[in-house]
Symmetry: D2
Subunit: 99 residues, 4 copies
């Protein structure tokens, strides 16, 4: 299992606000059924690494359907094979060091 952060930036849009694009991505994620969490800088998603990157390709394509002419997508994929890591485990591990 891996954790992926996805930040999708549409360019050549009239407005600098991209909330509508991000909302579409949230709805698609909900339909897709991956555990995920929205942050101020992107969406964090849990899953198999190959499936996560295939999902990233589908989500990256969404803003074009709404008129964006160019999309820059930033992905950070973190996979461990020495232990299972699920959404929320990394923040919990840091908290354990702080307690």
């Amino acid at each position: 299992m891996a954790i992926m952060q996805l930040t999708i930036i549409p360019l050549g849009t009239q407005s600098p606000s991209v909330g509508q694009y991000v909302a579409d991505i949230q709805q698609a994620l909900h339909r897709e059924g991956f555990p995920h969490e929205l942050t101020d800088m992107g969406t964090i998603i849990e899953g198999d690494p190959g499936e996560l990157l295939a999902l990233a390709a589908r989500l990256h394509a969404l803003p074009f359907a709404q008129g964006a002419q160019r999309v820059v997508t930033q992905i950070m994929l973190d996979e461990r094979r020495d232990k299972v890591v699920k959404l929320g485990d990394k923040t919990a591990a840091v908290q354990a060091h702080l307690d």
Copy 2:
């Protein structure tokens, strides 16, 4: 005001776990007094863009004090000048589109 996401990755450490390094960064952030939020993929911080990047330089240096030989730091800085954006505003804007 701007929102910055910071992900600090120490290399050449014995263990693949970096929770202790991240905990040090959280404690430093607490002392520095910037509004911030820990996620599974980094820390999101609110502030003036120049001050945020100066803070990033200080936080980036921390893992060396604990024995890391190499540190790769990933920063995403998002600044708007058409309106004031604070921590939590972006997720709230997306939620408003979903409601």
Copy 3:
């Protein structure tokens, strides 16, 4: 067509040097046949967005075969649909503004 930058960072390795891991990725890219260019911060690759992300999944898996316990992969995918962009076109466009 799209341009993707890929930066693969193995964690929990004995040494902070990752040149051998990057060399393996270059050899795999050569076998795969995608146009690509190595920079000091990653590899830039040209192709169809979906195929590029499927390629990223294969390359991300390589360091595990050599003993890495954790791999963090950073991807930036830039796709335009208003015009065809190939490797080298973006630097050429900037140069045209400078001339």
Copy 4:
């Protein structure tokens, strides 16, 4: 010394082309005197980590002067303290593994 990659993305611009913005950044870098190299996905710059991030703050501000309403800047900073790394050394190290 460290190596930094900088990718500056202006939002809320009429056109999806950002070559003019990138050209301004190249001219500023030339005036600033840091060793640097333009790639298809950003600019790679060599320098002291603190000075590089202060430079990033100055370059990040440039697109606002040309009318951008929002700027997202992506930074990757790679610092080693076990050896001196200069621009071009990392690609050379990979090439040595391939020869």
